[in-house]
Subunit: 160 residues, 6 copies
């Protein structure tokens, strides 16, 4: 069984993430979201809230799991016996960051490769920060997140 992991902050999951996860899950036997708990960043949602939104947003796909991690992605991959790390690529600045991460992860765990997937062009300008900014300012984000995420964002910003 070939397992891959999809690490990220997912604060919250949006349509770009869902598109990557759907396509990657068809290429391997299982895809596991690795939700980063980073004490330095201050996410809007707790790790558990982020996992719940992922599982709800991806419930149409069978071979998906999601766990949080405080450690290195390379160690998470080893623990879950993953053969590869999946990441989405939108921009040149993504590219450099992903390059650095891919090389460091390969150094720390040489049995795992990083596979970068091109984000669908209709989500190429999307990221979690923009989603949160637009939601906070009451713009329409219904094309960019699932209903559960939209509800959670409204609740966080006191817009319900």
């Amino acid at each position: 069984m070939r397992i891959v992991i999809y690490p990220g902050t997912f604060d919250p999951i949006h349509s770009g993430h869902i598109d990557i996860a759907e396509r990657a899950s068809r290429l391997f036997d299982k895809l596991i979201f690795a939700v980063a708990v980073n004490s330095y960043k201050k996410p809007l949602f707790s790790a558990q809230e982020r996992i719940d939104m992922i599982l709800e947003s991806m419930k149409h796909i069978n071979n998906i799991e999601a766990f949080s991690t405080e450690g290195l992605v390379a160690d998470f991959a080893r623990e879950y016996k993953a053969v590869a790390i999946i990441r989405g690529l939108r921009h040149v600045s993504d590219f450099e960051f992903e390059f650095q991460m891919a090389t460091m992860n390969h150094h720390l765990n040489s049995s795992v490769s990083t596979l970068l997937m091109v984000t669908s062009e209709k989500y190429i300008h999307l990221n979690s920060s923009v989603v949160k900014d637009v939601a906070r300012l009451k713009g329409d984000i219904s094309n960019f997140v699932t209903p559960v995420v939209m509800e959670n964002l409204k609740a966080k910003f006191g817009l319900t």
Copy 2:
């Protein structure tokens, strides 16, 4: 059985290509090199010579095949029932070209995704043109190509 294709000109195959193919071949059941026959570009080696160098350079890997194609990569992928297209990424300029190709191939064959793999840092500055330039000017390329490719390059440039 999950098959992936690795399209390119491979004029000639070098250590960066070999690194990508080795790692990708472990993630899927078969990897097929799709050697582009492009009437506009004038490669140094014929398609058959390029295929022969690929097969010789990759003979330590079992699940590798190589065929030439004059058509679209998307059609080649369909013909060989591939689930994904593998490509190596070194640079920002690679990135934009790969993005464009990935999107067009997805448009032409939506059942196939493109997976970009980060080139190992020791081959990050390597490409077939540099290999040919250095070989032609009698520089040392033994770290960058297999013996069979080195012999073929010397023969082409009359350096044997």
Copy 3:
């Protein structure tokens, strides 16, 4: 009356060009396509064929004209009393080329500014070379060009 020019090779015009021209034509009183006749490049279509395809593809817009030029864009802008040059932007590599052109044109004709318009994300991976390559290899380009351009491409490649 504020006139802008839209310079390019347009070999042939595609949906990305049409999107830029439609949006720019609403911001100014007239938009003039400046079709480059460059003796160094070898376009697939003659300047007259390219102008004819532009005018046919843009016939739903009133304030559009198209002329060919063998000279500098800065001189064309001066001749047609243009206040600005319009260009579409898709990629980082576009960006650097456009920057260079914008600065040189400003040097040669300081009364004209360059306005770069962001290509709609659904055409972000589109360019005339890809359109021609896919058409030549019998791929489907109906989403990317108007019927008149599709007919002309088929005729050029002997596919009718």
Copy 4:
């Protein structure tokens, strides 16, 4: 009457901004600075101080106005009946951010286009952060800001 808006933080306005605003104001009937009030960022100057510096620095141009906004740029554009959003471009990293903003604004208000103007090469390395850093460390910024801004910076840093 064709109105455009020029959104930004302008903390404070510098010569690069002035160059863009001068050139854009000649292409349209009115240019309105939209000064972002962002509760997350902590600007050095208050919104009113930033507006006052803009109006003083641009007083040689007639068709300029400046207002602050706490909302979305797309909503500001709608409120002021703007046909386009003007932004300056200096760098590749600018480019990606502007691309994302342009696409999101087009999604939120499809009647408004974004026009990117190439910053004059003599201001290509200039931004408000560098201006503040150099001023704070007592470097010479007289080529980069107007006298009113220089006075305000000195006052803020207790250098008068």
Copy 5:
């Protein structure tokens, strides 16, 4: 005597820095590390700790010195009679930042040029933040820093 300075935060010095400093020190008569004391950034190590780690890590090279500075790099260069500023380049995003700094420093001190040196490919993905992140999460950083730096990182993170 031709003196060059090598400015940075060096929080802490890593193998990429050492590689640049070794090569640059051979091209000039003296190389002085200029360790930035920036009240806005919060470095992990104090300026004195960073200087001590630099001097210990570079003790195999004779013509090296290290001092801290709270002021402009251009002023530091003037004070130490430097003819050039040395900086390492790894990535495109480095490139833009270095470009901006080089131009501003040239403006502030026209007698000093900036020389950018290409980081060795084996350190191309390395920076101080990644070193600190991996050390904090107990990953292996022995290839990336000298023993003194490894000890200091362990002590800071309570891992000894």
Copy 6:
């Protein structure tokens, strides 16, 4: 004596090259232009014409020499006992090419480092192709080349 080489095609030398050479020549004891004779590219000027224009354009600097080479830059550096290779940097696309060259040259001759110098912002958009294009179309290039180069360009294009 520390010697550096400045390799390039210099077809023809322009103000950006002159700026780099002036600044680099002050940092070392001798600067040698290495004029590439490349049988694949078709330069407008012969190697001897290019050397003559370099020497005439740089005659205000004492420690400059210029020679042509058909071989590898790394071998030229070894032959002339150079400690470093100087190159100018303008753009991101420059950057990637220079990176690749720097790494390959370091592989072929580890005793030589590459020093990249930031082009002055007023020449950031300048290259030899643009100079030739504008000259051929009778645009004004007097700010970009020395009189001897302007005369030679006019003669080549039959504009005298």
